[in-house]
């Protein structure tokens, strides 16, 4: 999705990509952790253990996005794709909160 056969990846845009990974990677991780909090067994009132587990989820999700953000062809694409993923995840979270909350 991010690279075409003809295009060669380079490191020129590292700063923009890193920022996209840090900022949008974090918000995406929080949104996905929220979906897990609402949709996995026990739901939003799953107890103290689940609250902690859901918090822990942020670390692998955030770090995962940050690790692979450099595969985007440039920082504009990184911001757009991750921004889109954020919109979807946050929209789902808002919907789930509205339905189940």
């Amino acid at each position: 999705m991010t690279t075409q056969r003809s295009h060669r990846l380079d490191s020129a845009d590292w700063f923009g990509k890193t920022c996209a990974g840090l900022v949008l990677g974090f918000s995406l991780a929080v949104a996905v952790s929220g979906l897990c909090a609402w949709l996995t067994p026990g739901g939003i009132a799953g107890g103290n253990g689940k609250i902690q587990f859901v918090m822990w989820l942020i670390a692998p999700l955030w770090a995962g996005v940050l690790c692979f953000v450099f595969l985007f062809r440039d920082s504009r694409r990184a911001w757009l794709w991750l921004g889109g993923a954020n919109l979807v995840a946050c929209g789902l979270l808002a919907g789930v909160r509205g339905l189940l909350g």
Binding site: W14, G42, G47, G49, Q52, I58, A63
Partner: protein, 541 residues
């Protein structure tokens, strides 16, 4: 596995930069963390003998407690009854008075003197093990927690990126290069093989460390954000209300009875102590101990609520009896702390920690090797300034951490007789040595400083068992607790020849290794042209 060249090139750049930014801080975190695997034995080894009389039997704990409360009523707020007193908890009854911050306490212990009068001592738990742990947690930074912790979190994120990028670079040649050790004239190839083997073999350990550290650094912030956007009204923590007394005039059970009931309910759970808190006119109790069949989220114990009036244990905080979510979280902690499987796993984690330190050290060496200006027909070129600076920094920071920790540990048995603020002295000694080592590495240049600092590390580490030996003979206020603590002295003793051997190799490389290297003897002090190296070996690179 096939990965496109341009992807590899990008991740090589990423790997090099995150490595350079985080490598030295990670070295300190791993070296200090390896030692922290034995924080509790180290603390006991480092704690001076108590002046209290031998603890009365557990059956007399309540008598002692009443005597304490009569003279020190504030003790009722927060006290312990210790089942098995140890060097670091040397009294049957211990109470805690709040210190400056929420987590700081001053601990007092009590016993009966021979004439039956009450003895009270401010406990002198040694702070040096905590210093090593703090260096580990804050990646060696001398800043307040509020500043150092987010930096540690950033380092952990860089570390995660370094692991993934390193793996991506190595994947295409993994099958061919894994565990290959090409020992020869091509030093860069050799260090590369060492670096790759260490990284791949201990990758799961490193992934655990990187991700848990992100959480350890940022959990408060994560909860705050989730409280705002995930949950309806903040994080819905369930407060546990302790059961009150069954009847208004009920009295707490004596410790002997609590212990008997604990063993009946939780066979296999080795009880260390019962702790009590007075809150809202009601007594709350918890039980602390360890069932070695299970890993724990605290490093050396597990703790849960106990009804002091009935002796009933609430098992849902005990490993093996938690709900599945709690069990998963318990496992995350356990995998970071190596708090499962007892001492064999602790030793394994110690080795993995040292291997991790070596991974970051070799990473920096590779950076230097790949920027080496090669020897040409017209002579030995000057190495780049950046390579010399990174060489000095790598040697100064890594060995500065090593000599600093050895020095502050060696001082442990001499300080309590002489100074009051032990924690400040231990910190001062560590950072004085650390800063001096870094400065020395820049003044002397990496190769000479490496040899000298390694010899200093050997000397200072030798002083650790010598101090204990002085304690055996009762010299200068030093002490030695008989028993298992001697393993610490023996480990330090075993490290001495290791430092000397590495120093020997470094000195040899300085004399007879490649002249076109930051590790060669500086040109001004070279008496003879370097031997052991001809045009043939230059061609191999």
């Amino acid at each position: 596995m096939k990965i496109r060249n341009d992807v590899i090139k990008v991740y090589k750049d990423v790997h090099i930069w995150v490595g350079i930014l985080s490598g030295l801080m990670l070295f300190i975190a791993f070296y200090a963390g390896a030692i922290t695997m034995f924080e509790k034995p180290l603390e006991r080894w480092a704690t001076p003998p108590s002046s209290l009389a031998a603890p009365p039997p557990l059956a007399r704990a309540e008598v002692l407690l009443q005597a304490v409360l009569a003279e020190h009523p504030q003790a009722a707020k927060n006290y312990l009854i210790v089942v098995e007193p140890t060097v670091d908890a040397p009294a049957r009854v211990i109470w805690r008075e709040p210190g400056k911050s929420r987590r700081q306490f001053t601990e007092f212990g009590a016993s009966f003197a021979d004439d039956g009068s009450l003895q009270v001592e401010k406990l002198r738990k040694a702070p040096v093990a905590q210093l090593v742990d703090t260096l580990h947690q804050l990646v060696g930074l001398p800043f307040p927690d509020a500043l150092a912790r987010p930096i540690m979190g950033a380092v952990a994120l860089l570390y995660a990126v370094a692991l993934v990028s390193g793996l991506i670079i190595f994947l295409p040649t993994l099958a061919k290069d894994l565990l290959a050790m090409r020992i020869g004239h091509n030093i860069k190839r050799l260090w590369m093989d060492v670096h790759n083997a260490l990284g791949v073999v201990s990758l799961p350990f490193h992934v655990v460390m990187a991700l848990t550290c992100v959480v350890f650094a940022f959990h408060d912030e994560f909860y705050d954000v989730q409280g705002a956007v995930v949950y309806e009204q903040g994080v819905p923590w369930q407060r546990e209300t302790p059961p009150g007394p069954p009847t208004p005039d009920a009295r707490p059970l004596p410790a002997v009875e609590l212990l008997r009931l604990a063993h009946a309910q939780q066979p296999g759970f080795d009880v260390f102590n019962f702790s009590f808190k007075q809150a809202g006119g009601q007594l709350e109790a918890s039980i602390t101990g360890l069932d070695t069949r299970y890993g724990t989220r605290a490093r050396t114990y597990a703790s849960t609520h106990l009804n002091p009036y009935t002796g009933e244990i609430d098992p849902h905080d005990l490993p093996g009896q938690m709900d599945p979510w709690d069990t998963a979280v318990n496992t995350f902690f356990m995998l970071h702390f190596g708090s499962f499987g007892g001492n064999p796993v602790r030793w394994l984690y110690l080795l993995l920690g040292l291997a991790g330190a070596l991974l970051f050290y070799t990473g920096n060496l590779l950076w230097i090797e790949s920027r080496r200006r090669k020897q040409r027909a017209d002579g030995v070129p000057e190495q780049t300034r950046s390579a010399r600076v990174l060489g000095s920094l790598t040697v100064g920071v890594s060995l500065g951490c090593v000599v600093g920790i050895s020095a502050t540990l060696a001082a442990t048995k001499w300080l309590p007789q002489r100074v009051d603020n032990l924690a400040a002295w231990h910190e001062g000694i560590y950072y004085a040595l650390f800063v001096a080592a870094v400065a020395w590495a820049f003044v002397r240049g990496a190769p000479r400083a490496a040899v000298e600092l390694l010899r200093l590390a050997a000397l200072l580490t030798l002083l650790i068992p010598l101090s204990s030996l002085a304690g055996v003979w009762g010299i200068g206020g030093a002490w030695h607790h008989p028993g298992i603590g001697c393993v610490i002295d023996l480990t330090a003793l075993a490290a001495v020849p290791v430092f000397l051997v590495i120093a020997g190799y470094t000195a040899r490389r300085m004399r007879v290794g490649h002249a076109d290297s930051v590790w060669a003897q500086p040109a001004s002090s070279q008496p003879l042209p370097p031997s052991g190296r001809g045009p043939a070996s230059a061609l191999q690179e």
